[in-house]
């Protein structure tokens, strides 16, 4: 398959060999499971159970609400112990509403949804519905509700489903193992998704540093002419949706547009497997593979963990810490976020838990910029990190926005390459957050203005109506005080009645 070059990028030490030969192992069911209502982009789900309820594995315990949301299911059978605020798996460590489930060790499935016997003959809408009911979100890390992405075929003309098996983050091997061990399931899921999207072609992008996965997947795909495997070069951040699309099709996704505008929808390989389970067996998403790795972990592993297991449970299953971790990271070392507490649960978007030692982090004091321009050369989005960070440092967010800071997707390549150890990507994370705040503020102000204007108009109208009513009811002396005390609304009604 012909491939295209992507701009910039870096070649960090991958350290995937720590876990790449470790087969996926199922962890024992922890004593408690913590299922947050918000594990995805969008509105938090709505609780369907109350404390003391007995639930079966796979039973929906929180339903999606609003346009963008995802439902959540019991990862095991047991009793709802508490619904309370628990620290989120988020760098802020802020609390969020979480359902605490005490598994009863039976791990009994409830009545499963009816399997869709021939998904390729089914209406795409049936598949969308099933994916939404199964609470499937993007499992590469962003956790965007998958059903919405599968609906894109109704609004846009699509030709390709691109399955993302690039896994460009160092350390992580969960997708690699998944493809090697469950290639048939991944490909079946991908074909079902392609049918739901209405695309004719499936391309599975895998980085060349996973030769076994490429081999197994090619073999599994050989039976289906519509499924192609593309081995893409090893170059961080190849696994970014936009960059993978560019490497495979040569098309660059414009800023603030979707890859779907180019006719391509990208899904993660683990998401495809979840779709396979939901459609073929009627089983919702209740567990995922997590790479537990890093220099401070005694026995790094690829763990099949139930959603809601605490990070501490996973670490314990992997033999605990062999050294004091300097930082525990949720996700990969490049784009992952530090976890402030080990009590946070594994959620649907958790691809890795890394306990990194001080040497691996290699934190060094920041010095002045030497204008080497490396960050500009490697920026995969074609931005100018040095300039943007200088403006942000001086609180000139407006200029940073003009230079395109909102197009930065925080891959961290600039911070990695900077010889002066300037926390470039931290500046951009801050700026993007602050700009979003400003934007929300502006939108709110506009709404407030409209509300105030509408109220002024209403009051004016009511006053006029009152005057008219008074004029009509001559002599008006008696009516005036009564109308003056209440809100002017009744006056309008009076007029309408008269």
């Amino acid at each position: 398959m012909k491939l295209f070059q992507i701009r910039g990028g870096i070649h960090p030490e991958y350290r995937k060999d720590i876990t790449s030969e470790k087969a996926i192992t199922t962890m024992p069911m922890p004593s408690l499971l913590y299922i947050p209502l918000q594990q995805h982009i969008g509105a938090p789900a709505e609780v369907l159970v109350s404390v003391g309820d007995m639930v079966k594995k796979g039973q929906m315990i929180a339903r999606n609400q609003g346009a963008v949301s995802a439902s959540h299911h019991a990862p095991s059978s047991g009793c709802i112990k508490e619904i309370t605020e628990v620290a989120a798996p988020h760098p802020s460590g802020l609390p969020q509403t979480t359902i605490i489930l005490e598994p009863d060790s039976k791990d009994e499935w409830g009545d499963p949804m009816e399997p869709i016997s021939d998904p390729f003959a089914a209406d795409p809408r049936v598949i969308h519905e099933r994916v939404a009911q199964s609470g499937i979100v993007g499992m590469g890390g962003a956790a965007f509700p998958s059903a919405i992405k599968l609906n894109l075929g109704e609004q846009k003309k699509l030709d390709t489903l691109l399955l993302n098996g690039a896994e460009c983050e160092p350390y992580l091997t969960c997708d690699d193992r998944l493809m090697r061990e469950y290639a048939d399931e991944v490909i079946d899921g991908a074909r079902i998704m392609a049918h739901a999207l209405g695309t004719t072609k499936v391309v599975i992008g895998i980085e060349l540093n996973k030769p076994q996965a490429i081999e197994v997947m090619t073999k599994a795909a050989s039976a289906f002419p519509s499924v192609q495997i593309a081995s893409v070069p090893v170059q961080y951040p190849m696994g970014s949706e936009r960059h993978l699309v560019q490497a495979i099709t040569g098309l660059e996704t414009p800023a603030r547009k979707l890859t779907a505008d180019l006719g391509i929808v990208v899904h993660n390989v683990a998401t495809a497997r979840a779709v396979h389970h939901a459609v073929r067996f009627g089983r919702p998403l209740v567990a995922r593979v997590v790479t537990v790795s890093g220099g401070a972990i005694r026995e790094p592993k690829n763990v099949l963990a139930p959603i809601g297991a605490r990070v501490a449970d996973l670490v314990e299953f992997c033999g605990g810490f062999s050294a004091r971790p300097e930082s525990v990271v949720n996700g990969g070392p490049m784009m992952g976020q530090p976890l402030p507490t080990l009590d946070a649960p594994v959620v649907k978007g958790t691809s890795g838990i890394l306990a990194l030692t001080a040497e691996e982090i290699n934190d060094r004091p920041t010095s002045a910029c030497i204008r080497c321009g490396n960050c500009i050369t490697i920026c995969p989005c074609g931005l100018s990190p040095v300039e943007m960070s200088a403006f942000i440092r001086k609180d000139n967010l407006e200029m940073a926005a003009k230079l395109g800071v909102t197009d930065c997707f925080s891959c961290g390549s600039c911070s990695w390459v900077c010889p002066s150890h300037i926390p470039l990507v931290h500046y951009f994370n801050y700026a993007k957050g602050a700009l979003r705040d400003q934007d929300n503020e502006r939108r709110k102000n506009e709404r407030i203005k409209t509300l105030a204007e509408v109220r002024t108009i209403r009051i004016e109208k009511a006053a006029e109506a009152k005057k008219a009513a008074l004029a009509a009811r001559k002599p008006a002396a008696g009516a005036a005080p009564a109308a003056a005390t209440g809100e002017a609304k009744p006056a309008t009604e009076e007029k309408a009645n008269a």
């Binding site: 926390p423 709404r447 407030i448």
Partner: protein, 192 residues
Amino acid sequence: MSGILIAIGSLTLIGLTLGTILGAAARRFAVQEDPLEEELKAMMPGSQCGQCGYPGCGQYAAALAKGEAKITLCAPGGKPLVEALSSKLGVTADLSDMEEKVPEHAYIKEELCIGCTRCIRECSTDAIMGANKLMHTIIVDACHGCSKCVKVCPTDAIIMVPYPETVVNWHWPKPETAKANTQVKPEVAHAH
């Protein structure tokens, strides 16, 4: 040769005629409006709360444009508005007595509400829901934190509360590079 002269001549004539018409129209139909006033009005919160002492945002903007009002009068606009106004108008303002206010919204302690509807009449953005002798509540999305309702409540049931910080609206703080120079470990430990 004469063809080109006719063309140039006629085009010049058309140009002159149209130019004269446009020029005359611009004078005849000119709108007497201070552009500065419009700009200032756009900067105001626009909720017409009247806490500046003027009937509404438009009047305050007009007074500002004429240089008759202080720039520190707008309560909902707060410090950011004063800063914006001072750079716009080239006026320096004493910001020291203006506290850094975190965004707030009104909150009704429902057990104290007697349903008098006074706050409803006071609210300039229709952010309070309720009826006579029935409990009231604040529609947080519509409240802009002017705190006028707090003052009129006879039972002190309304308080101003800051917006809660959640995982949805949280964002990274600005990195402190100056500090990182002296500290062994920066406060945001990140895995790069």
